[in-house]
Amino acid sequence: MSALPTAEELKAQIEAAVSGAVVTVIPNGSLSAQHSLLLDHEHARAVALFLRDHPDLRLDYCSLVTGVDWLDTELTEKIKVKKMVAGPDGAETEQEVEETRKTKVPGYLEAVYHLFSMEKKHGPVVLRLRTANRTDRTRVPSLTPVWRSCEFQEREAFDLYGIVFDGHPDLRRILMWEGFEDYPMRKDYVPPADDILMEARP
């Protein structure tokens, strides 16, 4: 098993080889220490080709593709602001008071790819692609043209998470039936109250 460069080294290699590519290292806090690389949409396929064909990396095998749903979160912070406050006697004085400010952080959907090398027998290298938000801009580039093994798994991420893979040859639902509308693996999915099987009965 040959040694694989660290995530930072990989980032430097990719940015040197694919001009304009923006790679961000996402650290992994768990003991597995499998750090991942966040790619930009525009250069994702070029980066994937580079990783697959580079003679020292040869990540020829894309083992796992999956979606992850990260909900919109609210960031709560306490800040101090100066305000005119009415005292007990009715006169207003300027005082410093604490206020909580809430900022909305938009959520996103994420496609995660685990790459290994059958030739060099190393891995994993983890790639991530993120959508702009969870509602209307859910497109990421498909890596099926680079690794055929993504075909069914990207379809599954589309089916269960609603990530739209641009450039996928056959993007249809795979586990749910055609005509099903929601995305069941999303964190805010609410199962229908009625029994769907009852509706289907003639």
């Binding site: 992994n28 768990s30 597995s32 075909e151 798994q153 639902r173 693996m185």
Partner: protein, 383 residues
């Protein structure tokens, strides 16, 4: 061979004398599909010109169920993925949790894991060969030979874990219960008989003319395509790629055992069949070594909390060489009691990616044989 697109164009142009394109929906209740699996097949005469697999009949959103429960809750659910190989499913999952939370495993537990996993592999491969022959029309006999042996292995599992198929036996940090010396003796006696079974089984089939005629040169999977399409397990090795996760990752204690990785040459159905036979022999070798080396000691890591495990936020991907290929589990923890994301990498589903490529140009009867050689279990494909 004419492509579908070209034929469709010619049909639309009103050309005569094209013959008929027949659309057949094979399944979901076709006996050869090993469950509820459907293939939309287009035929020109007897030749397959298009084939699209359709899944989802057994879909119950296993991943969502697991995300709703604690880490421990998912173990019995993993039994139901590939319901012929619950022991290896358990192992794949607990390996991922152990990676995520950094849990050590006692030595004796590692040995018992190897023993039960290799017994699982043996009965899976024997069963597959039986089913494959069944698909070719050898009704019953090979399957009964395989199942006779499988029963004995399932009896062992039953006396160990209490269940024949849904064993629910492994735990992160070790095992649920220890095995007794009597069980080990029983296992030793069974394993001593296994090579004779493989000899008998192989002698029954090896020179069979029908087997050769139906399988050699059928469903060839080229090496480059196999790698690119993420095919794993015996199917990949039948195409001549030396990639066995037991050898690559050395997970558990597989670096202590001596065994070879059989490789095929042609990547056809015959090689895939032979791969299973040869792997059964290697499995027996591992079993003999494991039974010789098993130490005494605890079977659970004393510090591990099974209930209420809260791994640090982060993620881990753990994978093992299951009988059907690379079985992986991807877990993301957000520091709470249940996994934020739980994902199974199902080998039998991904091995189906190239089903169409293997079947194009073959007779429709060969589709059954090619599918049989992929080794799918729908519990895992649909999850």
């Amino acid at each position: 061979m004419t492509t579908v697109a070209e034929l469709e164009r010619r049909v639309e142009a009103g050309e005569d004398g094209l013959g008929d394109i027949l659309e057949v929906s094979m399944g979901p209740h076709h006996p050869s599909t090993h469950g509820v699996f459907r293939m939309d097949v287009r035929l020109e005469g007897e030749k397959v010109v298009r084939l699209k697999p359709v899944f989802g009949y057994l879909h119950r959103n296993h991943e969502k169920i697991a995300e709703h429960g604690a880490y421990l809750h998912a173990i019995p659910y993993t039994d139901r993925l590939d319901y012929l190989c619950s022991m290896t499913n358990n192992w794949g999952y607990v390996l991922a949790v152990e990676k995520l939370a950094g849990i050590p495993v006692p030595e004796r537990a590692e040995y018992i894991r190897v023993i039960v996993a290799e017994l699982t592999r043996f009965q899976n491969h024997a069963g597959l060969v039986g089913f494959l022959l069944q698909d070719m029309g050898a009704s019953g006999t090979p399957l009964m030979y395989a199942f006779r042996e499988r029963e004995k292995i399932l009896d062992l599992f039953e006396s160990l874990s209490g269940a024949r198929m849904m064993c629910n036996y492994l735990r992160f940090g070790g095992l649920r219960v220890d095995c007794t010396p009597a069980w080990l003796e029983e296992a030793r006696q069974l394993i001593a008989r296994l090579p004779r079974f493989v000899d008998e089984f192989e002698a029954l089939l090896r020179a069979n003319e029908i087997l050769m005629a139906r399988t050699q040169g059928t469903g060839v999977l080229p090496r480059e395509l196999a790698i690119n399409a993420g095919v794993t397990g015996p199917m990949l090795r039948a195409s001549g790629v030396n990639y066995d996760i037991r050898k690559v990752d050395h997970y558990g204690i597989y670096d202590r055992f001596e065994f070879r990785v059989p490789l095929g040459d042609h990547g056809d159905v015959y090689d895939r069949y032979m791969m299973r036979i040869l792997e059964m022999r290697e499995t027996v070798k591992i079993l003999e070594q494991a039974l010789r080396g098993i130490p005494s000691g605890p079977i659970m890591d004393p510090k591990t909390r099974l209930r209420g495990l809260r791994p640090k936020p982060g993620e881990a991907y753990g994978r093992i060489e299951a009988p059907k290929g690379e079985l992986g589990f991807f877990l993301i923890s957000d520091g709470s009691m249940n996994p934020y994301r739980y994902r199974v990498r199902p080998p039998s589903m991904i091995n189906l990616t190239i089903l169409e490529d293997m079947c194009l140009g073959h007779n429709v009867a060969d589709v059954v044989v090619i599918l049989g050689s992929v080794d799918i279990v729908l519990g895992e494909v649909d999850r």
